[in-house]
């Protein structure tokens, strides 16, 4: 299965390597660099590269390439999924998955990798088990460690590995027992030139933060579970119960985790909460163009649209932009040709507008295509699909937990074609 792993930063330095079988020379990465060069763009590096003796399967996360070396047939998704799990674990442990954090915690990283794979086959990937084996670094602990000489490696034996609910560690204790659920919905949409919706759908997740003592058995029910068309579950959820009663019944992992992700059935029409009026044109032979964009709120159930940001990849011929905005700030990066307009909150009384002149490279032909506008926004206290949590019941423990549900709607891949 997975033979070796190399972590490579954007400038092509291999800053970490780990081998689970015999050592594979770093030179195998040359094939990867070759492909990277060919791809021009980082995101176009093919995830699977075939070399004479090995196969390289790589992912790109947070400006790091995780390049794994494979020698025999293995489902590529198996490896890709695992590599992402590794990156997730780093994120979980160090707060971020970056070159510096990995370098700073190289021993922990190494210990983690050692536990996560055995002979190239995943062994312990559940964060709860890993945290039992190797404690995540905290400032307090590192101070204590330096004084007492104790270590990050758990001195208790990892019993979680033996349990039949491997996602939860045993003996959890909290003084305040809390369970929070964030229902986060994202609207993926493509809006065409005329403002009509080409494609829209709602993708949601429920992220949970559970800090409950003991072995609580939770069941979460919805007012309208039929809305959920396609659901994927955390392994803790009892599938049968969902099939028969549409209730999420589970013994939760300790801490933060993603309970479910779902798609709202496509029959439901998606209410698009914003509209965009745009006028972008490039004049022939005058090396300039006009840019005029207004964003306004549509029906959004009385909630304000906040955190609105528009990003536009302008055509290569654009040299500079002279714009004025009625609200928020804009920046234009002449190197990457990305225009970012940070609007903030939209008030219906005064619609934010950005307009001005686009300077084009003189002599270059006028760009054929108007750039598409990528919009981000957030609406608090609203799940756009109308999904509502009905109740949360806890069994198996005596105390009364504090429960909270938060709804939020965001723009996912929200694109307006112009």
């Amino acid at each position: 299965m997975i033979h070796s792993l190399f972590l490579i930063n954007c400038s092509g330095d291999i800053f970490l390597e780990k081998h689970w079988k015999s050592v594979v020379s770093q030179s195998v990465c040359d094939y990867f660099f070759e492909a990277q060069e060919k791809a021009v763009d980082v995101e176009n590096v093919p995830p699977v590269i075939s070399t004479p003796h090995h196969y390289l399967i790589s992912i790109y996360r947070d400006k790091i390439f995780f390049v794994s070396v494979i020698q025999t047939e293995v489902p590529p998704l198996f490896v890709i999924e695992f590599l992402h799990r590794v990156a997730d674990t780093f994120q979980d442990y160090f707060g971020e998955c970056s070159e510096t954090s990995i370098k700073d915690n190289v021993v922990i990283v190494y210990e983690l990798l050692e536990e996560m794979l055995d002979n190239g086959f995943p062994l312990a990937t559940e964060s709860n088990i890993l945290k039992e084996l190797i404690k995540p670094p905290t400032i307090l602990r590192s101070v204590v460690n330096s004084i007492t000489g104790s270590s990050n490696v758990g001195d208790t034996l990892p019993t979680g590995q033996l349990s039949n609910i491997p996602w939860r560690r045993a003996g959890v204790k909290y003084t305040n027992n809390e369970a929070y659920f964030d229902v986060i919905e994202e609207i993926d949409a493509i809006i065409d030139k005329s403002g009509s919706t080409v494609f829209a759908e709602i993708q949601g997740v429920i992220d949970s933060c559970i800090k409950l003592s003991g072995m609580p058995d939770l069941s979460l029910s919805f007012m309208n579970p039929r809305l959920l068309d396609d659901v994927s579950f955390h392994p803790c959820i009892r599938f049968k119960r969902w099939e028969s009663e549409r209730v999420l019944s589970f013994i939760p992992p300790d801490g933060n985790f993603r309970l479910i992700s779902y798609r709202v059935s496509s029959q439901n029409l998606v209410a698009i909460p914003v509209y965009v009026k745009h006028m972008i044109s490039f004049k022939e032979n005058s090396s300039s163009g006009r840019f005029d964009v207004t964003i306004g709120p549509k029906q959004n159930m009385g909630k304000t649209v906040e955190g609105v940001v528009m990003t536009v990849h302008m055509p290569k011929a654009v040299l500079n932009m002279n714009l004025t905005s009625t609200q928020g700030n804009y920046t234009f990066d002449p190197v990457t040709k990305v225009l970012t307009w940070d609007i903030g909150k939209i008030t219906p009384q005064k619609l934010p507008n950005l307009k001005g002149i686009v300077n084009l490279q003189s002599g270059a032909p006028k760009p054929e295509e108007n750039p598409s506008l990528n919009i981000q926004f957030k609406i608090q206290q609203l799940a756009i699909s109308g999904l509502k949590v009905n109740r949360l019941d806890m069994y198996g423990e005596k105390y009364k937990p504090f429960k909270g549900v938060k709804y939020i709607t965001k723009a996912g891949k929200f694109q307006v074609r112009t």
């Binding site: 079988k21 002979n119 068309d229 992700s261």
Partner: protein, 1113 residues
């Protein structure tokens, strides 16, 4: 953090001379002295007594390893600490050891004893970790130690240690592949493990060490299916992939049924007996219709148990299930995976990339599946190019008459994209749409022509190439376009496009007679500056013009050919020479010249624009090989579906070639006697779909066999081949008696083997039936058709069931066999040999034991009865309940149980076979066990079982007796005697056991039903029809559950039924042979109506009660 420091120092070290201890690593040509110094420092720390210092040193060393620097010279210093008390130090030492042991083999041996000690530790986690490190040390000398450790760990109490053992197997295998045989033994053992923890790991080991040994899976197949949902996600992926391959070898293709039904059905069923086909032609056609492919229940089990995993959060699991469904599920069911795959498109771009590749392949085969999700494949400008191109591929594959307009509108947007590679791909996609969908060809062509005026040359060039291909399909109407393109030669510089235009003009020069010579003129002018492919096309054009319009182009052609003659490229020179010889008539050129026109201006077939993903599905989807479209190292080919369901008893897949042989194998168990019932049972109905639910299958390995004959195979897969051989040997010896015994069983399927006997026999059977009191002419025809039906049916239906039972049976095999050997030896018919074959783990006893017992068996055979009507199907095996005849307390240590084996009683067809199992729990031998003084009620008859001479303490015997209950549920009373005691016992049959299943067609069923209700009208309505309404409980609404419940409540056979909310069953009472027809109609929701038609009102009423109870409980 200390380690962090170490790390950054490490990094900066090469430049900062101030810190020599972290200085240059040896590889970069460092100074030895500083190197020494650094390592001295670390060595000192490692040698110190303080754990903190050791830890510090180890952290630095690990940081070096992580960086890829060589730290091997510290090996001795590090290895000393392998027994360190501090866990973190110990762990880091392990990391080091595993990394460098290969290079320092001798020193690594020093650490082995520590691990060996660890292997004996009372704590399972320490045992596991010791094994893990030990097996990771790649030192060939310790192979025997590893082997021993693995073997020991494989039988460890702790599942976690066993899991580690499974992980260690591939490690050892890669170190020394000679250990394969021994490792396979360990794998076999671990495969039998019932914990979810082990399952994934051992299958992984299986896949790495012996993926070809698919026979090891048979016994564990169901268990793996049932455990699957609880296995950790990575294990799930491996198991699902393996099971996909396995299922491909074991089951029949679920999608063959259409073709089978339509054309080959008759051949398949009747192929061997021609006459019969003719005779029954009329019936045959009607039979064929209700003889659809029935999925093997194990096949169904796999599909059912993997389906929930489509909801996994792990993309690899979802993909694994998706490929399983794609490769194994019936067409109608594959659709479920689309939704899940589309969900994955929201994931990371690498996941998208892989998923889209697979979707592209799938969408070619099963377009309909993804059509509802068309819009999910729309492209965003922010997608990476490789994703865009894959989405485009999928969109193109999905295009059809109805959605093409939407798709083309999308494509229009894409064409204006800034990403030119993507635009080029879009143009090609449009070309493909245009070729595939004739309706839009003109629209596409017009669109593409417009693109010819695009500013981007790449776009234009790509359009030209695509237009060329499109025009080739219908050139006549498009001379305008060709003219337009001719003009483009002035501007377009892309060689491929220029070449395409030239080819087009040459090919269709007759459509553009004025322009063509002009183009040639221009090209002749620029000839020397053109690219090679363009030059070739110029020559081509010249040649074609010369042939069609030599007046205008003769000189130009000469000129071009002359230029080409001195070209630098020899290809071009060759071509010029060749063409000159061909087209310019000279004295020498001779024959070919005449055909020049034919050669050049022949009709050329239009190119087919095909997806590059076509036929990629011969690779298992989701595999690396599929992604690369090339066989990766270690890829296991996905086998084709077998033509016939293979018999898992033959490990090497020596599939039986002859029909006969196969049939033998399949049918045999039907005649074997029923022994060894005990405890829970399972059903192996002839309606395999309804077979046994998970509950029991999961428990099936532990729980013992059932009462159905098929189960009595009584031997594991392993031994079955031996058994088979033995049997064959025996068969030769005892050919005659065997036939007799078979005939005595009156088997329908036996007829196939002895075709000659067939016809006469059938007549006999019919007569017998008439003798039984069925005099109506209808009945006669019914019996005939059903007899032929059962001939064919036995193959089509029973064989999967059979195959499946064998497999299921294997684990339970050990129990019945010893019992069987001691069982009333005289009663057993020859085919019970199966039972004499020892269970797999034991060595085969010498064959003379078998043959001697065989002789006694044969002596006891009575060969008189031939009366079983063929219409009486081999019974449907519902779950068989065991009843107590004599409790061990009252029986003073002798306990007797009985059950209804649902097999025709061989000596008298009017008797119900009762299987009796006697266990001797006393300390003494029980002698002369027999039945005496039966005191039957009027008309009731009892056929006693032969006396059991003696029963040793602790032994169990199983015998069969027959009772004619006269179609009543009155108890049969008799005495059970031993040499010392008499016990009064009685057997009371449940009403459902008083009948035997009958096979009939839907039409016959209806006819009979009508007939019966008419009978009723004569007297009172409702005399022969009892109807009861009921509400089905939740768990009893599926087809399987209903069929299972009904067949377990009564010994009835299912009648195929057109409507899917109706279930029909038919049976005949054993004594009088009156028909019992059962109809269960499902209404909306849980409501249902049960109707029983029977002349025997009492039986009907009781049956209704029993079935309702079975269904509702």
């Amino acid at each position: 953090m200390a380690a962090g420091q170490a790390y950054s120092e490490e990094k900066g070290g090469s430049s900062s001379l101030g810190e020599p201890e972290y200085g240059h690593d040896p590889a970069s040509g460092g100074i030895f002295s500083s190197d020494y110094k650094r390592h001295d420092d670390l060595k000192e720390m490692l040698d110190s007594n303080k754990d903190s210092l050791k830890l510090e040193a180890m952290k630095r060393i690990v940081a070096m390893i992580a960086r890829g620097k060589n730290a091997s010279d510290l090996f001795p210093a590090v290895v000393k600490n392998v027994a360190c008390k501090n866990i973190e130090v110990k762990k880091l030492v392990y990391v080091y050891l595993v990394r460098y042991a290969e290079e320092q083999q001798d020193l690594a041996l020093l650490s082995i004893s520590t691990f060996q000690r660890g292997l004996k530790d009372p704590n399972q986690l320490i045992r596991a970790s010791a094994l893990r490190v030990l097996s990771s040390i790649r030192v060939p000398i310790i192979v025997p130690i590893m082997m021993l450790a693995i073997k020991e760990a494989a039988s460890d109490m702790s599942p976690y240690v066993r899991k580690t053992a499974a992980h260690a197997i591939p490690k050892l295998y890669s170190l020394d592949s000679d250990q394969k045989d021994q490792l396979i033994e360990v794998i076999e053992k671990l495969l039998a493990d019932k914990t979810t923890l082990v399952a994934g790991s051992v299958v992984m080991a299986f896949e790495e060490v012996c993926p070809e040994r698919i026979d090891l899976i048979h016994k564990n197949y169901r268990k793996l299916c049932n455990l699957l949902i609880d296995v950790e996600e990575w294990g799930q992926v491996v198991i699902i992939n393996m099971l996909t391959r396995y299922a491909r070898t074991q089951f029949l293709s679920p999608n063959q049924n259409e073709s089978l039904l339509e054309d080959s059905a008759e051949k398949a069923f009747y192929g061997s007996d021609e006459e019969d086909t003719k005779d029954d032609k009329a019936e045959a056609t009607s039979l064929v219709k209700r003889k659809p492919y029935v999925m093997d229940p194990d096949h169904r089990l796999l599909l059912r148990n993997t389906k929930p995993l489509l909801q996994s959060r792990n993309a690899a699991v979802v993909m694994a299930v998706a490929q399983l469904y794609f490769h194994l599920a019936p067409k109608a069911e594959v659709g479920v995976i689309a939704k899940a795959l589309v969900r994955l498109l929201r994931s990371h771009s690498e996941v998208q990339y892989v998923v889209l590749q697979n979707v592209a392949t799938m969408s070619i085969k099963r377009r309909g599946m993804f059509e509802p999700y068309l819009k999910s494949f729309y492209i965003r400008s922010t997608d990476p190019t490789q994703i865009k191109i894959l989405k485009l591929e999928v969109l193109t594959n999905l295009a059809n008459e109805t959605n093409i307009s939407t798709i083309l509108r999308e494509f229009q947007t894409y064409i204006r994209s800034m990403d030119k590679d993507f635009v080029a791909a879009t143009i090609q996609a449009i070309g493909r749409c245009a070729t595939n969908i004739g309706k839009v060809r003109d629209t596409c062509l017009n669109g593409l022509v417009q693109l010819l005026s695009n500013r981007d040359e790449l776009v234009v060039a790509e359009s030209v190439v695509v237009i060329k291909k499109l025009l080739q399909m219908q050139p006549a109407q498009h001379s305008e376009i060709i003219k337009h393109m001719a003009k483009l030669t002035d501007n377009i510089q892309v060689p491929m496009a220029r070449a395409s235009i030239l080819w087009l003009i040459g090919e269709y020069c007759e459509h553009v007679p004025k322009i063509a010579p002009d183009v040639l003129r221009k090209m002749a002018k620029s000839f020397t500056n053109e690219e090679d492919i363009v030059k070739l096309q110029v020559i081509n054009l010249a040649a074609k013009l010369y042939l069609t319009n030599s007046k205008q182009s003769k000189l130009l052609t000469q000129y071009v050919l002359n230029l080409a003659k001195y070209d630098q490229n020899y290809d071009i020179r060759d071509r010029a020479r060749f063409i000159r010889q061909l087209i310019v008539p000279t004295e020498k050129s001779g024959a070919l010249n005449k055909y020049a026109k034919k050669l050049f201006l022949a009709q050329k077939p239009a190119p087919i624009l095909e997806s590059s993903f076509k036929d990629r599905d011969h690779f298992q989807l989701g595999s690396l090989s599929h992604l690369l479209n090339a066989k990766a190292v270690g890829y296991q080919e996905l086998p084709d579906w077998p033509d016939e369901a293979p018999d898992p008893s033959v490990p090497e897949w020596t599939k039986c070639t002859s029909r006969e042989k196969r049939k033998e194998k399949v049918e045999k168990p039907f005649y074997s006697d029923s022994e060894g019932e005990s405890g829970p049972t399972e059903s192996a109905d002839s309606e395999p779909e309804s077979v046994s639910e998970e509950s029991e299958t999961s428990s099936s390995e532990g729980s013992s066999s059932s009462g159905s004959e098929e189960e009595e195979e009584g031997s594991g897969d392993q031994s079955e081949d031996k058994e088979e051989e033995e049997k064959r040997k025996k068969k030769k010896e005892k050919e005659a008696p065997r036939k007799a015994s078979l005939e005595s069983a009156g088997s329908p399927s036996e007829e196939e083997e002895e075709e000659g006997v067939k016809k006469g026999k059938k007549k006999k059977q019919q007569q017998e039936r008439k003798g039984c009191g069925e005099t109506s002419s209808e009945e006669a025809s019914a019996s005939e058709s059903s007899s032929s039906e059962s001939d064919s049916g036995s193959e089509a239906q029973e064989s999967p069931a059979e195959v499946e039972t064998k497999r299921r049976k294997a684990p339970a095999s050990t129990k019945p066999s010893p019992r069987a050997t001691t069982a009333g030896p005289k009663e057993i018919s020859l085919l019970d040999l199966d039972d004499f074959t020892p269970p797999p783990p034991q060595p085969v006893p010498s064959s003379n034991i078998v043959s001697s017992s065989l002789v006694t068996d044969l002596e006891g055979l009575t060969l008189t009865d031939t009366s079983l009507a063929p219409a009486l199907l081999s019974p449907v095996f519902g779950s068989v309940r065991t009843y107590e005849l004599l409790h061990r307390m009252t029986g003073e240590g002798l306990s007797v149980e009985y059950c209804f084996s649902r097999r025709p009683f061989p000596h008298d067809p009017h008797m119900v076979a009762v299987q009796i199992q006697i266990s001797n729990n006393t300390d003494a031998e029980v002698k002369s066990l027999r039945i005496s003084e039966p005191k039957p009620l009027s008309g009731m008859r009892i056929q006693e079982f032969p006396e059991i001479e003696s029963l040793a303490p602790g032994d169990t015997a199983s015998v069969v007796m027959g009772i004619d209950f006269c179609d009543s549920t009155q108890a049969a009373n008799f005495q059970l005697c031993t040499h010392t005691r008499h016990f009064y016992v009685s057997i009371q049959p449940p009403v459902g056991e008083l009948m035997a299943p009958v096979f009939m067609s839907e039409n016959e069923f209806k006819k009979e039903q009508e007939h019966l209700s008419r009978l009723g009208e004569g007297k009172l309505t409702g005399m022969s029809e009892i109807t009861e309404k009921l509400t089905l409980p939740e768990k009893c609404r599926s087809d399987h559950a209903i069929v299972q419940q009904v067949t377990s409540a009564a010994n009835v056979g299912r009648v195929p039924c057109g409507a899917d909310n109706e279930y029909r069953f038919a049976a005949k009472t054993v004594t009088s042979g009156s028909l019992v027809l059962i109809t269960l109609e499902k209404r909306e929701g849980a409501a249902a109506q049960l109707t029983v038609n029977s002349e025997k009102m009492v039986i009907g009423t009781m049956l209704v009660k029993d079935i309702v109870q079975a269904l509702v409980q």
